[in-house]
C-alpha cells in the first residue's frame, strides 16, 4: 500500500443510504477518508421517499434534492453519476465500472438500494409497463398521464397506493390490483385496511383485490391484464409496485454471500473483508428493509464503525409506515395483527372514520395502527421504539376523547434514535445543535440540522426535544412572544422568579440585574414589570407612574381627540337621586360632550379636557370607576331578592360588597364580575372573569368568562354555601390569577393555559393554600390607595401632570 495519511473509501450507490452514511462519517471524522461515489442515476442524492410528491406535482425534482452538486465538491468527494459498478475485486480491492474506470479502495460500501419486483409473467416486457423507483420512472408516469387514460397499479402496498393516487391526480382512471384481499396487508389489519380502501375509493381510486396477474395482454404495448381467475382489466399503462428486490447483482458477481439481499452482520460487514453493505440492498438478520428509517439507523452504526468510534451493534429496526397521501391519515408501526399474547387497546369509530389500535405485550407498547387521525403518530412511534409501558395518560392520549397532555417523553429517547426519518437526524444531532449553537426554536433546528425539513411529521418530537434541552428557557409555540419583550430573552415566569429570589424591588434593578438589553425598557416590559413588582412586593414597591399607560396615569380614558372620559364608581350599578343630580350638574358645569350609560352599569362623561380632570374629580367627590385600568372594573348585578320576585339572593348587596372590597387593586388585566340573584342570570355571569349565580342555599362561582375580543363562556369553579366562603374563594381566585397571570393576559386565556383543574386544586381543594392566598390578598388590599387624593393634595404634581404650559409668541 502506498504511503498516505488518508484511506480510500468507495461508495457504490448515490442514494439516501450511501450518502447518509457518508454524511455521518464526515461529521465524525472529516479527514479520514478520500471518498469516491458511483451513482447510476444522473442526479445528486435526492429524497426518494418524496418521489410521490413529484408525481403529484406538489414538488419539483429540485425540491427533493438532498445534497446538491456543491456539497460533493465542498467535501472533496469524487462523484461519478450515470455510472454503474460492475465488478468488485475483493482481493486486490479494486472496483470496475461499466465505463471501464477502475478505482482502488481501502473500504467499500455497497449501497445499491433496490428495484421494483417485476412480475415474471408473460407480456411483462411489453411497452407501457414500468416500475416506480426513481426520477426517470416518475417522468415516465407524468408523460404517460398526458397520453393515456386508463392505468393499473399492481401492488396495493405503500408505494403502490402513492403511485396510484399520483396518477389519479394527474387525471388518469386508476385501478389498484392487489394479490391479497386487504391492501397494505403488511402494515394494517383487516379493519384498518377496509377503512383505507373505502377512503381511497371515495377519492376516486378503483380496486381489484384478491387478483393474481397471469398475463399482460396487447401487441407491442400493453392493453390489458388477465388474472388467474379468468377476468381481465383494460389498461393502457401499468405501474408495477408489487414489492422491491435488493440490487445484489454486483455483489453476487463478485462472490459476496448473498441471499435475498447482501448478507451483513450487526456492523454492516459483508462476507468480504472491508466491504460493507447498507440500506435496502442488504439483508440483516433475515430482513430486507424497504423503508427509510432502518437505512439511517444502519448508516449511523456503519459510519461510527468506519471511523473507529465505539458503537452499539445494529440490532434491527422497528419499522413504521406513514402514508403520504393528502387527506388520508394512515400510520402503522411495530406489530399490528391481533395475537394471543397481545393485549389490544382498540377504538373504532365508523362515523368519524377513525380507527386506533395499540398492541401491548406484557403491558409494553409494541405496535400500533392509526387511521383517520394521525395526530399521535410520532409519539406512538416513540412509545413503540422505546417499549413504553402503557399508562392512563398514554391511553387517554391515544383513544381518549379528551386531549390530555402526555408530557414530554423526549428524555426517554436514546441519543442515536433517528428523530427525523426523512433526513436521518438523530436526537443527539438535535441536542448538540441546540446546545452548541444556542438554538431556541424548531425553525432554527430545522435550518441547522434539517430535522422536520421534509415531511414535518417529526416536528412535535423535535419540539419536545427542544423543550427537554432548554427546560425553563423553552418558549413554546408562540415561541418568541413568550419572552417578555425584545429587551430580554427571559419569559414572564423567569423574570418573576428572579424578582423574588434576588429581592429586586424597582424595575430599574430588574433590568440591571437581569441584563436587559435596553436600560430603560420598552412599552411592553415597563408596565408589566411595574405590575409584577407591585404584586410581589405590595408593601415595598413604589408605583412607577412613568411606566403606566396614559389612562392609568391620568385615571381617565383618553379619547381620540385628546379629551378624556370620566367614569365614577357606581357600586353594583346602584346609584341615588342625589348622585345622579350631582353628576348631571357636573356634566353641565364642565360642558361635557356626551353622557353615556356604559355596559358596566354606570355613567361615562365624555369629552372632558385634561386640565379639568382634577377639578371634576374634586367636584364629584366620588371614587374613580377605574374604567381604564388593569384592575377590577365593574361588578354587574341584577336586582336580586331585594325586589325581584325570582331572586333568591341579595345580588346587589353582594355585588357592592365585592366591588368595594376589591376596587383599585392592580390585576394582570381588566377584571369584571357579575352577581346574580337566581339562575336566570340577568347580569350575564357567563361572560365575566368571575360570575356568581345565587341559588336557594348556595352560590355558584363561574370563572374565566369573556364577552370581548375572544368570547369564552365561564366554567363552574365550585359551589359554596356561605357568603364568607364566597368571599374567600373570590379572593383566593383573584390572588392566584394575580400571582400566575401574565401581564395583559385575561382570565379566559389564563385558565386555558393553566387549566381549570389546577385552579380548582389551588383555590378550592387545597384549604391551606386558599387561606394563604386570602392572606396575601389582604396584604395587597391594605396598600391600595384612592388615586385622586394624592393628586389633588399635591399641587406641583397636579400641575405637571394635568396642565399644559402656554406661551404666547406675540410680544405685543
Amino acid at each position: 500500500m502506498e504511503n498516505r495519511d488518508y484511506q480510500r473509501l468507495v461508495v457504490i450507490g448515490n442514494g439516501m443510504a450511501g450518502i447518509n452514511t457518508v454524511e455521518q462519517l464526515l461529521k465524525l471524522s472529516p479527514n479520514t477518508y478520500k471518498i469516491t461515489v458511483f451513482g447510476k442515476e444522473p442526479y445528486p442524492n435526492y429524497n426518494r421517499i418524496q418521489l410521490s410528491y413529484v408525481l403529484e406535482k406538489s414538488k419539483a425534482v429540485e425540491d427533493i434534492i438532498l445534497n446538491d452538486w456543491d456539497w460533493y465538491t465542498d467535501n472533496g468527494i469524487e462523484l461519478h453519476t450515470g455510472t454503474s459498478v460492475t465488478h468488485i475485486d475483493t482481493e486486490k480491492k479494486i472496483v470496475t465500472a461499466d465505463n471501464g474506470m477502475q478505482v482502488s479502495y481501502d473500504k467499500l460500501i455497497i449501497a445499491t438500494g433496490s428495484k421494483p419486483l417485476m412480475l415474471p409473467v408473460p407480456g411483462a416486457d411489453k411497452q407501457g409497463i414500468i416500475g416506480f423507483r426513481d426520477i426517470a420512472d416518475c417522468e415516465h408516469m407524468l408523460h404517460a398521464a398526458d397520453l393515456y387514460k386508463k392505468a393499473a397499479v399492481i401492488g396495493g402496498g405503500l408505494l403502490g397506493l402513492e403511485a396510484a393516487k399520483g396518477l389519479l391526480k394527474l387525471g388518469m382512471d386508476v385501478t389498484v390490483v392487489h394479490l391479497f384481499k386487504d391492501i397494505m396487508e403488511r402494515q394494517l389489519d383487516h379493519t384498518a385496511s377496509l377503512m383505507l380502501q373505502a377512503e381511497l375509493e371515495s377519492q376516486g381510486l378503483k380496486f381489484a383485490t384478491g387478483k393474481q396477474t397471469e398475463e399482460f395482454l396487447g401487441e407491442e404495448r400493453v392493453s390489458g391484464i388477465r388474472f388467474t381467475d379468468g377476468t381481465t382489466l383494460d389498461t393502457e399503462f401499468v405501474v408495477m409496485s408489487a414489492g422491491i428486490r435488493p440490487n445484489v447483482e454486483v455483489a453476487k458477481a463478485s462472490g459476496l454471500d448473498v441471499n435475498r439481499g447482501i448478507l451483513v452482520d450487526d456492523y454492516m460487514r459483508t462476507s468480504a473483508p472491508d466491504v460493507y453493505a447498507v440500506g435496502e440492498c442488504n439483508e440483516h438478520r433475515g430482513i430486507c428493509y424497504g423503508l427509510v428509517a432502518p437505512l439511517f439507523e444502519q448508516g449511523v452504526v456503519l459510519a461510527k464503525h468506519l471511523c473507529g468510534v465505539e458503537t452499539k451493534p445494529y440490532e434491527g429496526s422497528v419499522v413504521s409506515t406513514q402514508l403520504k397521501i393528502s387527506g388520508v391519515d394512515v400510520f402503522s408501526a411495530g406489530e399490528f395483527m391481533d395475537a394471543d399474547d397481545l393485549a389490544i387497546v382498540r377504538m373504532h369509530d365508523d362515523w368519524r372514520r377513525v380507527y386506533k389500535k395499540v398492541l401491548l405485550r406484557g403491558g409494553r407498547i409494541v405496535g400500533g395502527v392509526l387511521v383517520g387521525d394521525g395526530k399521535e403518530a410520532s409519539r406512538l412511534q416513540q412509545w413503540i421504539r422505546t417499549g413504553t409501558v402503557m399508562t392512563e395518560v398514554i391511553h387517554d392520549a391515544i383513544v381518549g376523547q379528551s386531549s390530555i397532555d402526555t408530557g414530554n417523553t423526549a428524555a426517554e429517547l436514546a441519543d442515536e434514535e433517528i428523530v427525523c426519518g426523512c433526513n436521518g437526524v438523530t436526537k443527539k444531532h438535535i441536542v448538540d445543535a441546540i446546545e452548541q449553537k444556542g438554538l431556541t426554536t424548531v425553525e432554527e433546528i430545522k435550518g441547522a440540522t434539517g430535522a422536520s425539513r421534509s415531511c414535518g411529521g417529526c416536528r412535535p418530537v423535535v419540539e419536545q426535544i427542544l423543550q427537554f434541552v432548554l427546560g425553563e428557557k423553552y418558549d413554546s409555540a408562540a415561541a418568541k412572544q413568550e419572552a417578555m419583550c425584545t429587551c430580554t430573552t427571559l419569559s414572564r415566569d423567569e423574570v418573576v422568579t428572579a424578582i423574588k429570589e434576588k429581592g429586586l424591588i424597582t424595575s430599574k434593578e430588574v433590568r440591571y440585574a437581569l441584563d436587559w438589553n435596553n436600560t430603560e425598557g420598552c412599552s411592553k416590559c415597563r408596565p408589566a414589570l411595574n405590575y409584577y413588582l407591585g404584586m410581589i412586593w405590595p408593601t415595598e414597591h413604589v408605583d412607577e407612574r412613568d411606566s403606566r399607560f396614559v389612562n392609568e396615569r391620568m385615571h381617565a380614558n383618553i379619547q381620540k381627540d385628546g379629551t378624556f372620559g370620566v367614569v365614577p364608581r357606581m357600586y353594583g350599578g346602584v346609584t341615588t337621586p342625589e348622585d345622579l343630580r350631582l353628576i348631571a350638574d357636573i356634566a353641565v358645569k364642565y360642558n361635557v360632550k356626551l353622557v353615556k350609560v356604559t355596559g358596566g352599569q354606570r355613567l361615562d362623561l365624555l369629552g372632558v379636557r385634561k386640565e379639568d380632570l382634577p377639578k371634576i374629580w374634586k367636584d364629584l367627590g366620588m371614587p374613580s370607576g377605574y374604567a381604564y385600568a388593569k384592575a377590577l372594573r365593574t361588578v354587574k348585578t341584577c336586582v336580586g331578592n331585594q325586589f325581584c320576585r325570582f331572586g333568591t339572593k341579595d345580588s346587589m348587596g353582594m355585588g357592592i360588597l365585592l366591588e368595594k372590597k376589591f376596587e383599585r387593586l392592580d390585576m394582570p388585566a381588566k377584571f369584571k364580575l357579575a352577581v346574580n340573584g337566581c339562575p336566570r342570570n340577568c347580569a350575564e355571569s357567563s361572560t365575566k372573569d368571575i360570575g356568581i349565580v345565587g341559588n336557594e342555599g348556595a352560590w355558584e362561582i363561574y370563572v374565566g368568562g369573556n364577552g370581548g375580543i375572544k368570547a369564552r363562556l365561564a366554567e363552574l369553579l365550585c359551589k359554596v354555601r356561605t357568603d364568607e366562603e364566597l368571599l374567600d374563594i373570590v379572593s383566593a381566585f383573584m390572588q392566584h390569577y394575580r400571582e400566575t397571570g401574565r401581564y395583559l393576559e385575561r382570565t379566559s386565556d389564563w385558565i386555558e393555559r393553566v387549566g381549570l383543574a389546577s385552579v380548582m386544586e389551588v383555590v378550592v381543594t387545597d384549604l391551606d393554600n386558599r387561606r394563604a392566598l386570602v392572606e396575601r390578598m389582604e396584604i395587597a388590599l391594605s396598600q391600595v390607595k384612592e388615586p385622586w387624593s394624592e393628586i389633588l393634595n399635591n399641587s406641583n404634581l397636579r400641575e405637571r401632570m394635568f396642565e399644559d404650559i402656554k406661551v404666547t409668541t406675540d410680544q405685543n
Partner: protein, 122 residues
C-alpha cells in the same frame, strides 16, 4: 436630520419654564403660540420638544407616551420615535418634527423658526 444641529440664528427661543416643571419620563404639553409641543425630560435630564402629533396612521397625540432613554413609544401605535431627531425607528417609517431646546441657568427655552411665527420676537 434637518433639526439635529439647528443654527440658533434662525430660531427665536421662548422661555417655557424651569427643568423642574417637567417630570422625568412624563411628557408635558407646551403650547407655543399656535404650535402644540410634547416636551419630554429624560432620565439624564435632557429636554426634548416634538410636535405633539403621532406619526402613525391613526393620528392622536404623543405627549402621553412611554419614554425609554431617548426613545418615545407612541401611545397610539406603539411606534418608536427618536426624541432627538423625531425619526421613527424601523420597521416603521416617518418623522415627527422636532424643535430645538436650550437649557441655560435653570431656564428652558424652545425655539421656533423665525419664518413660522418666531419673527415677532426680534
Amino acid at each position: 436630520m434637518p433639526m439635529s444641529n439647528p443654527n440658533a440664528e434662525e430660531y427665536t427661543f421662548y422661555l417655557v419654564g424651569k427643568p423642574e416643571d417637567f417630570s422625568e419620563r412624563l411628557g408635558r404639553v407646551v403650547r407655543l403660540g399656535e404650535v402644540e409641543l410634547a416636551v419630554f425630560k429624560t432620565t439624564d435630564g435632557k429636554i426634548y420638544a416634538l410636535e405633539n402629533q403621532s406619526p402613525g396612521p391613526r393620528g392622536g397625540t404623543i405627549a402621553e407616551g412611554i419614554i425609554s432613554g431617548d426613545v418615545l413609544f407612541d401611545p397610539i401605535c406603539d411606534w418608536k420615535i427618536g426624541l432627538a431627531d423625531g425619526l421613527v425607528h424601523a420597521p416603521d417609517t416617518g418623522q415627527v418634527r422636532v424643535y430645538p431646546v436650550q437649557v441655560l441657568e435653570d431656564e428652558v427655552r424652545i425655539g421656533l423658526p423665525k419664518r413660522e411665527g418666531g419673527t415677532l420676537h426680534d
